[in-house]
């Protein structure tokens, strides 16, 4: 079944190439546009998060065109719908690159969708900008990670909870949805907490399925774990739709943020929109951007967004900012290289610095991750976050965690002469393997 399927795909892509050759003459007419691929699910479970990113990209492309386009050409968005279906992500990515000949692709949300398109991007040599916080343990030549790596979100969040301001937490519940991002993040956090002297019996790890809705037992277990006479906090990597019933149950069972705060890594303004946040005031989230950030750049971005989406109720969020930063980096790199040729852009984008929305500059590092400030926000009654803590400077994304035995010797540097995403400094060889 699999064999015949891939043969069909091959025939299909061969057909696409021939079609491309045949059509090369009339296609010249379209040469005055540069195509940009948008690979976000518009239907299925992830549509709730990804549709907003598609709209944000369309807005950014519109704005760039209003400024006169790029290299004297207009930008043209090519939107496809991978429908929250992981193998379909790979097919759609192939379609964007081979058939539509896009210059770069902005897309993916879940780690599993990113993993599914990786081989396509390296085979066809194109560029993917990935805008969501993720578990790290990866650095690919064709991918630029504009979301947070674990050290840009999880580690500073835990540090905050351990500090006096955060309540000097001594006991930890790591609650997550059962897939690759929470599992790897929790692995890193567990190693980090143990390195900080937290005993194994003071850490509880629990996983629930995607879209889980009956949280009674889990919340009761958290309550029980929290009544051991030590300050307890929950670090939540619960993803997507499951968050709303989780927070509702917390509110109903009367768990107050003052007693057991919940620090979330996947709950943004968008998720809170479906909730009455009054019982949740004081619960926390760690991101690199909040809509409430008070800078002129952010005020303009929010105003533009409301105008574009024709509703001033829609919120902005962290992955949108990541796309804003990533898109501007790509534009600048294309201008610097004078071409959209992926090979040249991949080299040109390293070291590019663009303003972010929190009042500073983000820079693309040689490991294909960017520098970001880390913010800890508290949920407010109006569904927004208020920053309670901020790292003093920008934090550089660290792709290979220093706290995992498998990856602590690995580094990534895509500049010549090293040009390696997984260089092992202990053995001096390229080709190390992390925990994934």
């Amino acid at each position: 079944m699999r064999g015949s399927f891939s043969t069909i795909t091959k025939m299909f892509s061969a057909g696409a190439v021939t079609a491309g050759l045949l059509m090369s003459v009339p296609a010249r007419a379209a040469d005055d546009t540069i195509k940009v691929g948008i690979l976000h699910s518009l239907s299925g479970t992830m549509a709730i998060s990804e549709t907003t990113l598609k709209d944000a990209m369309l807005m950014l492309i519109d704005e760039q065109n209003a400024k006169g386009g790029l290299l004297g050409k207009k930008l043209e968005a090519v939107v496809v719908d991978p429908a929250s279906n992981w193998p379909l992500f790979a097919e759609k990515a192939r379609e964007l690159i081979s058939k539509d000949k896009v210059a770069a692709v902005f897309g993916c949300w879940t780690s599993v969708s990113r993993k599914s398109v990786l081989p396509v991007f390296s085979e066809l040599d194109n560029i993917l900008f990935y805008p969501v916080q993720y578990e790290g343990e990866e650095s690919e030549r064709n991918v630029f990670y504009t979301g947070a790596a674990p050290n840009q979100q999880a580690i500073p969040a835990v540090d905050y909870l351990m500090s006096e301001d955060g309540g000097s937490v001594k006991r930890w519940v790591l609650e997550g949805t059962d897939y690759v991002y929470p599992r790897t993040t929790n692995k890193i956090l567990e190693a980090y907490l143990k390195a900080k002297g937290v005993a194994a019996e003071d850490i509880m790890v629990n996983y629930t399925p995607f879209g889980f809705s009956d949280w009674q037992t889990e919340v009761a277990a958290i309550k029980k774990f929290g009544s051991a006479g030590k300050k307890t906090a929950v670090v939540s990597t619960v993803n997507g739709d499951a968050n709303v019933p989780f927070y509702k149950e917390l509110g109903n069972q009367g768990i107050m943020a003052e007693d057991i705060p919940v620090m979330a890594f996947s709950v943004g303004e968008e998720e809170l929109a479906g909730l009455d946040t009054a019982p949740l005031v004081g619960h926390l989230a760690a991101w690199n951007y909040f809509q409430s950030i008070d800078t002129p750049e952010n005020a303009k971005f929010i105003a533009d967004w409301h105008k574009f989406i024709k509703s001033d109720k829609r919120t902005t969020n962290d992955p949108m900012e990541a796309h804003y930063v990533g898109f501007n980096m790509w534009v600048k790199a294309v201008e610097k290289a004078g071409t959209t040729d992926p090979d040249k852009v991949i080299d040109a984008v390293i070291g590019v610095s663009v303003p972010n929305l929190t009042g500073g500059y983000s820079t693309m590092m040689p490991n294909h991750h960017i520098t970001k400030p880390v913010l800890i926000g508290e949920i407010q009654a109006d569904g927004q976050f208020e920053t309670v803590s901020q790292t003093p400077g920008l934090v550089m994304g660290d792709e290979w965690s220093d706290y995992l035995a498998d990856s602590k010797d690995l580094i990534s540097d895509w500049r010549a002469p090293l040009s390696c995403g997984n260089f092992n400094v202990a053995t001096g060889k390229c080709g190390g393997k992390g925990t994934n």
Binding site: A47, Q216, A228, D241, Q253, E258, E271, A273, G274, D276
Partner: protein, 491 residues
Amino acid sequence: MRELAATGDTAVERPLGALAEGDLYVRKADSLVFIGKAAGGSVALLDPLSGEKSGDAAKSEITKIKVNNTLRRAIRDALGTLTLGAKDPAARIAAADTMFRTPDATNIEPLDAAIASETVASVKALLEQARAASVLVSDRPETDKLAAVALIGGRGDRNALSLLTAVEANSEGAVKDAATAAIASINSTLALWDAGQNIWYGVSLGSVLLLAAIGLAITFGVMGVINMAHGEMVMLGAYTTFVVQEVIRNSFPDLFDWSLVIALPLAFSVAALVGLVIERGVIRFLYGRPLETLLATWGVSLILQQAVRTIFGPTNQEVGNPSWMSGSFGIGQLAVTWNRLWILVFALGVFAVLLYVMKRTPWGLQMRAVTANRRMAASMGIRTPWVDALTFALGSGIAGIAGVALSQIDNVSPNLGRGYIIDSFMVVVFGGVGNLWGTLVGAFSLGIVNKFLEPYAGAVLGKIVVLVLIILFIQKRPRGLFALKGRSVEA
């Protein structure tokens, strides 16, 4: 702030309370502190001590004083001491509760005074427990502490356990032994309550499963239509609730507590109407062709999902809990949340009504007659196509009102129905196709088994184990718990 609270001046209460609520602002022009109440675009400023109005300010002219959890907790503790003498017994109970959780040797004196003047017995007991907690962290003699451990041990809840664990770790000799003994006794009582809690959680999960499955028990169970669009009927009901609440919020805010009651008939009608259209438009051409029905209703479900996504957007919609469905109450050590309790009552109510309709009304009789033997029923003058259509509409309508209840515990998004369709089929098949009682027993037994497995196996493994058990069960009894006997089954 502790110093402020130690003054014991009740004037401090207002600004501290405002600070905890995040309502305390500083005016940028003259650095004066005010309590702010947002009113429209501007903020009404109140004098922090007297509470009198002292002008308005635009949001940009003032800065909010930021609080974090540590500060909030400190304020709560400080206010606890202050409200000890409040007139309202509820405020005194809250104060005693706070002081119990944050014991401090300096609390003993104010508590002694409060105990002496307390008249309500239940409040007095709480105050004495709070005093005992404070005695344990003070340097009072051992006999006092032993009495305190005994008193707290008698309380027997998680807060007491948490306190005693800390005492056990920090003390020596007789007090430590007494604490260890008290912890052991609390733990054994709590273990019993844990079992009770699992049963309650199981019953509550069962009621959700019952609600989700009961409509399917009609369309799939009685009519034999493999209805993959069942979950979307639930979703339509939930969205109807959302629309009703939006209208009420904007036009009749006083009626908010009634929103669910108003939404029930509307959700039933909307879902029943859509069900009727689906039956007349698609399903009636496909009776007796289960595979085509499955694919067609699957397509319908995608169309409905995408339609809702286009109209309302892909994001979650906020459906509020009316006040009578918020919060929880305690029976012993068991916290029962109001929304779960009401959903249980509601699910049983829907079941009872449906059972009555099926068994005691002429329409129910016709329905059962058509199911048992279509040709015979037609010969008797029953218009079988219309019975089919109305039965399907009834099943869909029931799914719609399930959506009203589920909007209270789950998020209202276009994907709402997807989460319930598999569980619903599981319940109906397990309970026995075509039997309402089977659906009831199936839902509750699956719920309870699931909740007993969850603490040991985790949610992911628990679900897998339940699925495996059902597969094994179906191997043994292909017709489910309560097999229907009759002509249609043999045919």
